[in-house]
């Protein structure tokens, strides 16, 4: 099976005017025409999946994924109810929804599928699916926008979606249903009076569109917080869809963009933008923020474990205080050490370079700084066994390996040999093996997996890694 990919992306406006009343305003009609062009483009791409990230479906408990295979109802907008009703009947890819939900949890996200008759599909999703997929020929999936989610959570949400797209060999189109500036007029207006709410909003919108036209999606993502402060009403969902869309496209700045329309909808900035993954040839730009693979959480509000800034999610438990002491990594010729990896439990470096080879000391899942163990320790301070998540631990090991390898100026695709130690082969091999397949397994190093009696800290998995640094 060919590996799946995102074959196109679109930004589309959320308000119902383009469905219910395009004829009332020339700009609304131009947006509608642009929707029609986008729909044709999606057909021409031979897409087999539409993934909608909607800013008008807020969630609180993680992210929700629509999984009703055929949701049907009548949608009426809370503000624009006098424009009329939109009857909908959509074709949802239930299998993909469940697979994405599973993938989310594997990457540490809170997630659930929703499949309830009468579930109120939000206006942004209804408009997007009605106009982009008018004959329901392409199965779709819709995800909510968590009102508390930050960049890392939103980025990981996209990566778990990509995991499934790749695994299922899908040709996916990613869509963000969103306004640019979202400041509407706070009084009723006649359709012919519509315009962007302010010159400032218009200028920012044009700047965003200029970036998108140049394919600089990651740059827009990294400006997200600034844009939110400048031209957005502080509604529950911030300007975070660009984090998601950028991650869906590999956080790149060398895409190919086309602005199909940009018009006001009751003062807000509505745009239909097409983004093609084909490299523009402009060269990729710098990438400033962390490339997060696994969401560790940062709120911990349910059990109030730790309210400090570096608190980990409730699934992350502090290492038992009775564990071995921590050492500063040793320094010798060729040593490679980093604060981004957990401190050693003895006198040794994180890695050592010899010629064009890099040898890593055994790497476990402990977190740098906090020493916490994602997925939880395997036993408590008294040696009493605890339940733990081998997949979370394995993900954390791979992330720690990656940090050390990158500190040496290398990349994960240069890893050539791995020896893995498991303390409970029978219990943990499958979970470890699944994570391996998603991560190192795609790179292709040789591997040896051994069962051992214990590791120095209460962890279940450790890897010994060798990297070939090239000629």
């Amino acid at each position: 099976m060919t590996e799946g990919q995102v074959v196109g992306s679109f930004v589309v406006p959320v308000h119902p005017h383009t469905v219910l009343a395009p004829e009332q305003n020339e700009g609304w009609q131009r947006l509608r025409d642009a929707f029609d062009i986008a729909a044709q483009t999606i057909k021409d791409l031979d897409a087999d999946l539409l993934v909608i990230y909607s800013t008008t479906w807020p969630s609180i408990i993680g992210h929700q994924i629509q999984s009703d295979p055929n949701p049907e109802w009548v949608m009426v907008d809370h503000d624009f109810h006098d424009l009329g009703s939109i009857e909908y009947s959509f074709n949802i890819d239930q299998d993909f929804a469940h697979a994405w939900d599973d993938a989310n949890r594997k990457r540490g996200l809170q997630s659930r599928c929703v499949n309830y008759k009468g579930f109120p599909i939000d206006v942004g999703s209804v408009v997007a699916l009605t106009l982009l997929n008018p004959d329901n020929a392409i199965p779709a999936v819709i995800v909510s926008s968590n009102m508390y989610a930050n960049r890392s959570e939103t980025t990981v949400l996209a990566k778990s979606c990509l995991d499934v797209i790749k695994a299922q060999g899908r040709r996916a189109v990613a869509v963000t249903a969103m306004s640019l500036s979202n400041r509407m007029f706070t009084d009723f207006i006649n359709p012919e009076e519509d315009k962007i709410h302010s010159l400032k909003d218009d200028e920012w919108n044009l700047k965003i569109l200029e970036f998108l036209k140049q394919g600089r999606l990651e740059d827009v993502g990294q400006l997200s917080r600034t844009i939110q402060r400048q031209i957005r009403v502080q509604k529950v969902v911030a300007f975070k869809p660009m984090w998601w869309l950028s991650a869906m496209n590999g956080n790149r700045n060398d895409l190919s963009g086309e602005v199909l329309a940009y018009e006001p909808i009751h003062g807000a900035g509505g745009a239909v933008v097409s983004i093609d993954p084909t490299p523009s040839g402009a060269g990729d730009k710098e990438y400033d923020e962390d490339d997060v693979e696994y969401f560790h959480g940062e709120r911990g509000v349910l059990d109030t474990i730790d309210e400090s800034d570096d608190a980990e999610d409730v699934t992350v438990t502090e290492q038992a205080s009775s564990g071995p002491g921590l050492w500063e990594p040793t320094q010798a010729e060729g040593s490679v050490n980093t604060d981004a990896a957990p401190k050693p439990v003895g006198a040794y470096p994180h890695a050592r370079r010899v010629g064009n080879m890099l040898f890593l000391s055994g790497v476990g899942p402990r977190q740098p700084g906090t020493n916490a163990i994602p997925g939880g320790p395997i036993h408590d301070e008294n040696g009493e066994p605890l339940d733990y998540d081998i997949e979370a631990q394995t993900h954390a090991v791979v992330n720690n390996v990656k940090r050390i390898v990158e500190e040496a100026g290398a990349s994960m695709d240069q890893v050539v040999d791995v020896t893995t130690f498991l303390v409970d082969m029978k219990r943990d091999f499958k979970g470890y093996n699944d994570v391996w397949a998603e991560t190192l397994g795609k790179i292709g190093p040789t591997r040896t997996t051994l069962a051992i009696d214990a590791l120095p800290t209460p962890i279940a998995v450790e890897m010994k890694v060798i990297v070939h640094l090239g000629e």
């Binding site: 479906w57 807020p58 969630s59 609180i60 408990i61 993680g62 929700q64 009548v74 009426v76 809370h78 503000d79 109810h81 006098d82 009329g84 009703s85 809170q110 659930r112 929703v114 309830y116 008759k117 009468g118 579930f119 109120p120 939000d122 909510s144 968590n146 508390y148 400041r183 509407m184 007029f185 706070t186 009084d187 009723f188 009403v233 502080q234 509604k235 009751h266 709120r299 509000v301 349910l302 059990d303 109030t304 309210e307 409730v314």
Partner: protein
């Protein structure tokens, strides 16, 4: 015509958890209980008003969010299925409610005369928001009183708490004027939590009360401060501190319901009755009644 009267004013929360925990026949999911302190608070509120005659319930719910002015349900009857988009696992409620369209239109017209942007909602396909349904069910499970339902204008998000409050105080004044002119006896109800920082995780059993507590100490302090003002007849201080409360407690007063309620009640200087307080997924919630009927009688 006899002058209309507000017989009671209430602030009462609307998280779907309360209806879920009660297991009414209208709601599809089934629970093992939970959040009893608040559900019993609602019971005490109902008992307190059981002997008071009134014609309609006027509700402002923060979950009918409008960005363009204040809207009013404008058809006599709404029926349907309300599924909470955030907690669909808890709330799938079959509702059937009546609207006092005359009173709704009277408040709408009075507000329009005062220069407020307003609109009647007359689309029969409209789904009533779950906040209105939840509060409506818990306040009046028989659904035997017509309601007037106002949307929550999001002027806090657009401007500031101060601007929101200015608008809501004016909306409260016109609401009171319209009620008095209508000759009806009315309960006004702000469907509102107090502090409003949610947990972002949910227990496997949502009604597991061993997991329930206020999100943070700071939120608790704010909730108790506001409740103490209510209990001691210091509504003006609530209005005075609304910007700080709304911002620091991430309070649901951002929807304007509490400001509107206190204005509609003429900023009461008599004590309110606290019927219950409890947390729901970390948010602070109170069931509070201003027994206007007793105080107006005393004044007369």
């Amino acid at each position: 015509m006899v002058k209309g009267k507000i017989v009671a004013g209430c602030i009462a929360p609307h998280p779907p958890h309360l209806v879920y925990a009660e297991n009414p026949p209208q709601n599809e999911p089934v629970a093992e209980g939970g959040w009893e302190q608040l559900r019993w608070g609602y019971e005490r509120l109902r008992a307190s008003l059981a002997d008071i005659e009134y014609d309609a319930i006027v509700v402002l719910s923060p979950h009918w969010q409008t960005y363009i002015g204040t809207h009013f349900l404008g058809l006599p009857h709404f029926q349907g299925l309300s599924v909470d988009p955030i907690f669909p696992n808890l709330f799938r409620y079959h509702y059937d409610l009546n609207i006092d369209v005359d009173l709704a239109k009277a408040i709408h017209d009075e507000a329009a005369s005062a220069g407020l942007p307003v609109k009647m909602m007359e689309n029969p396909d409209f789904r009533v928001d779950y906040g209105t349904i939840t509060t409506g069910h818990l306040f009046n499970p028989e659904w035997d009183k017509p309601m007037v339902v106002l949307s929550s204008n999001r002027s806090t998000a657009y401007y500031s708490v101060e601007v929101m409050q200015e608008i809501m105080i004016e909306l409260g004044r016109v609401t009171r004027r319209a009620i008095e002119a209508s000759g009806k006896r009315v309960v006004v109800l702000a469907s509102n939590s107090l502090s409003h920082r949610h947990f972002t995780t949910e227990s496997e059993v949502p009604e597991d009360m061993s997991k329930e507590h206020i999100t943070s100490h700071a939120m608790h302090l704010w909730d108790m401060r506001i409740i103490e003002y209510m209990r001691t007849g210091q509504a003006q201080r609530i209005l005075d501190e609304m910007p700080e409360f709304t911002e620091q407690a991430i309070a649901e007063s951002d929807g304007g319901g509490l400001s509107w309620l206190l204005s509609t009640l003429n900023v009461p200087d008599y004590p309110a009755v606290l019927h219950g307080y409890g947390t729901i997924i970390g948010t602070g919630n109170a069931v509070v009644e201003w027994p206007c009927h007793a105080h107006e009688e005393a004044d007369e």
